[in-house]
């Protein structure tokens, strides 16, 4: 039988010496097709579009191919070019159109723009914004997402470079996806089952006017392109494969992968910012503009992506579908997600089409969607984010409450109780998976710094210590910063354990900041976005230095895993106590709280917290169903007696009383 090749595998004409034919409008971007590459790009207001081809690394183009008018359908220009060596090809677009900024148009045919759909960018170097074509045939074998129930996750937020960039990491390829693969056994040992990667979309590491460094990467340039410099194989343009390999290996270890994604703004900034892609392709479509053509700035970074415009909405959907379907990513955390609920003029939408589309998208159906439910313009939607029964939220109120309680503020005991059972005041109808609980994240103090500094120390950022949040609810335990005072150090160690234990014993999805389990410090810097070095990298020497803290955290995670009642259940399965059993003290001066999580059967956990500087004796409720109380953890005890291996907790000598030390948390379990 003769197999006929499809007719569109043949060119119909030549442009600039290259055999071409009219391309397919969809999908957008550069796609390999039989014999060639299909290029498709959108612009509503362009008058002409030219495909610019480079041999890799060459300063001048090898060819410029204007799209003939007959290759345009609607506002989409598409062309198939034959005979290209995609491995050595870089490309971009030259787009002409009106130059009337007051109407929102900033076309400039002198510039070569990167393809917003590019799967790879060139990364570093003088031509770093050029687009590249991927081969897209990674061998996934039988990879299947772990599909963990949302409420069972223990999220671990990490920075790909920072996690293994330090020389002490001991990996073969420090600071890369491959380096992270080498640390999977560590993640397994710790017991987390989900990593949340800080931005891995291509960004410019140098776009910071103060230190010259953008470390965090919340300033995307290529939304489909994994960051090349996070790949040891980036110089060989294998970053997509290396990233996919990371996902595959994490899945093999039972660990899910969430990406921290930024769709609220881009690296193009405002009028003063560079023109990289969207600005030159179709500024008026992609950005929220004032009536006279200026940039709305709800992100605090210069511009705001016009994400509820139907075209931009499609872009966001295409992007997330790509990461989910092609890269097997398990979910997303959306930076400043409140912006995704705004309309073209910045107004708050009651039924934001983008959020609705994401919630109901067939490809994203079982991927986790987590909103950072606020923006930089003062919109705070924690508890009120348009969720469509799908979205979870970073619970900022959880963070603030636990911090205030641990530090010893009065009047927060009642609220702590609410936060510990999944914040039903905000999420009662959505279930505990709706709240992502955390005490620390990349943004703000590390846990060790939270108990070591009253004030931020951001001088090294070059902004006169004016940047970063002033409201940290932190307490230095009696001395600002580094000290040799054993009493202060002991208290700090206990305070870290208190926060970790409350977090891991709360209903909702806990999120840990990478390194907090090892006592990582940023020396009081609570906004270290602009430091790429020892200040922000994880020093693996802490693993030995703070072995007690690591062991404690590992056991607390394992305990959570062993007790489903901590991860969910009816509100009626929690009973409150105080110094007297069955008599919680909800008054403003109360510093003692005890919760009995009773899942029926043998799953019963008693959590007691005391933020007072004196110890208290708590009357214990009888262990239900004829069982006895055993001690899992007591942060006032000296390591290693501060936590036991789940399943081998020693019985409590006195079954009717528990003495809880000053500023400490204790957990009992029945056997």
């Amino acid at each position: 039988m003769t197999v006929l090749e499809p007719i569109d595998a043949y060119p119909t004409q030549r442009i600039a010496g290259y055999p071409v034919r009219a391309g397919r409008s969809l999908p957008f971007g550069a796609t390999r097709v039989p014999g060639g590459v299909n290029f498709s790009v959108f612009s509503n207001h362009a008058t002409s579009v030219t495909l610019v081809l480079y041999r890799e690394g060459e300063p001048e183009p090898m060819a410029e191919l204007p799209f003939p008018e007959s290759f345009r359908v609607g506002s989409v220009h598409a062309m198939t070019v034959f005979g290209l060596d995609v491995e050595r090809l870089e490309y971009g677009y030259r787009v002409d159109g009106p130059r009337r900024p007051w109407e929102g148009h900033r076309f400039d045919p002198d510039l070569v723009l990167s393809d917003p759909y590019a799967r790879m960018l060139t990364g570093h170097g003088p031509y770093r914004h050029r687009s590249r074509v991927t081969l897209d045939d990674f061998d996934w074998e039988d990879d299947r997402p772990p599909h963990l129930p949302h409420e069972d996750l223990v999220i671990y937020e990490l920075h790909v470079r920072g996690f293994t960039g330090h020389p002490s990491s001991g990996v073969a390829a420090p600071g890369t996806y491959a380096g992270l693969v080498e640390k999977i056994p560590y993640l397994r040992e710790l017991g987390v089952n989900c990593v949340e990667l800080m931005p891995v979309f291509e960004f410019d590491e140098t776009d910071n006017v103060f230190t010259g460094v953008n470390y965090w990467g919340y300033s995307p340039i290529g939304f489909f392109a994994p960051k090349a410099s996070y790949a040891a194989t980036g110089r060989d343009h294998m970053q997509v494969d290396e990233f996919k390999h990371l996902v595959k290996e994490l899945h093999r270890a039972g660990i899910e992968v969430l990406l921290d994604v930024v769709f609220n703004h881009t690296a193009e900034g405002d009028e003063r910012g560079p023109v990289i892609s969207f600005k030159g392709l179709d500024n008026a479509t992609y950005y929220m503009l004032t009536p006279d053509g200026h940039y709305y700035n709800f992100s605090g970074t210069g511009n705001t992506l016009n994400c509820n415009h139907p075209v931009v909405r499609g872009f966001v959907l295409d992007c997330l579908r790509y990461w989910a379907a092609e890269c097997h990513v398990d979910g997303f955390r959306f930076d400043l997600a409140a912006i995704l609920g705004r309309g073209s003029g910045g107004e708050l939408l009651h039924n934001p089409p983008l959020l609705e589309s994401l919630a109901y998208d067939p490809i994203l159906r079982d991927r986790k969607l987590i909103a950072e439910a606020w923006d930089a313009a003062g919109l705070y939607q924690v508890g009120s984010f348009p969720h469509y029964s799908r979205w979870s939220e970073w619970n900022g109120r959880y963070r603030d409450t636990v911090r205030r309680y641990v530090k010893g503020d009065l009047g927060v005991t009642g609220e702590l109780a609410t936060r510990m059972v999944g914040s039903p005041d905000m999420y009662s109808r959505r279930g505990v998976a709706a709240t992502v609980n955390f005490v620390t994240s990349h943004d703000g103090f590390t846990l060790r710094d939270l108990v070591s500094y009253d004030h931020k120390h951001n001088e090294a950022n070059g902004e006169g210590n004016r940047d970063g949040d002033d409201a940290n609810n932190s307490w230095n335990c009696g001395h600002e910063g580094a000290t040799d005072d054993p009493a202060v150090l002991a208290l700090r160690a206990r305070q870290q354990r208190n926060a970790l234990l409350l977090l891991l014993a709360s209903r909702g999805v806990p999120m840990l900041l990478a390194g907090d389990e090892l006592g990582r410090t940023q020396l009081g810097n609570n906004n270290a976005y602009c430091h790429d070095g020892p200040l922000t990298w994880l020093d693996w020497g802490l693993r030995e230095e703070n072995a007690d803290l690591f062991r404690f955290t590992r056991r607390a995670i394992a305990f959570r895993r062993a007790h489903p009642v901590l991860r969910g259940g009816s509100p009626g399965s929690v009973h409150w106590h105080g110094v007297s059993a069955w008599s919680p003290d909800w008054s403003a001066h109360s510093r003692v709280l005890a919760a009995l999580f009773d899942g029926g059967g043998s799953d019963c956990v008693y959590v007691a917290a005391n933020s007072h500087w004196e110890s208290h004796t708590l009357e214990l409720p009888p262990a239900p169903r004829g069982q006895t109380w055993h001690l899992f953890a007591d942060t006032a005890a000296a390591p290693p007696m501060d936590a036991f291996e789940p399943g081998s907790e020693p019985p409590l000598a006195n079954q009717s009383q528990l003495s809880i030390g000053p500023r400490s948390v204790a957990i009992l379990v029945t056997h």
């Binding site: 491995e87 081969l135 061998d139 890369t176 491959a178 693969v181 790949a231 194989t233 294998m238």
Partner: protein, 101 residues
């Protein structure tokens, strides 16, 4: 250096010697040869790479192609892989499907 290759089939083992640069332009040739080997129902594929000076991403993908084309349980062995090439294969995870000597 231009790309050259030669296949020798003995019993159920196909041995392919590669020399020069394996990239996007030469990869289809190797894929073709792998298809031939599959047609002859070999159970082992040995690639002699000591004269291969460069392997691009398209070259690495030939290994995936071979792995997927050959019957399950077949063995692919790379012999004499130069360190740079071996490192790329390892970092992107293709080494799990093959044997590198």
């Amino acid at each position: 250096m231009s790309f050259r290759m030669k296949m020798n089939v003995e019993g159920d083992t196909a041995t392919i010697r590669l020399a020069g640069e394996l990239d996007g332009s030469s990869a289809p040739e190797l894929n073709e040869l792998v298809s031939q080997a599959v047609g002859r129902q070999v159970g082992k594929l040995v690639l002699l790479l000591d004269e291969l000076t460069y392997m691009s991403s398209a070259g690495v993908r030939c290994l995936v192609f071979a792995h997927q084309k050959l019957p399950r349980g077949s063995e692919i062995t790379l012999v004499g892989t130069k360190p740079e090439v071996a490192e790329t294969i390892r970092l992107t995870g293709f080494d799990r499907s093959i044997v590198m000597q």
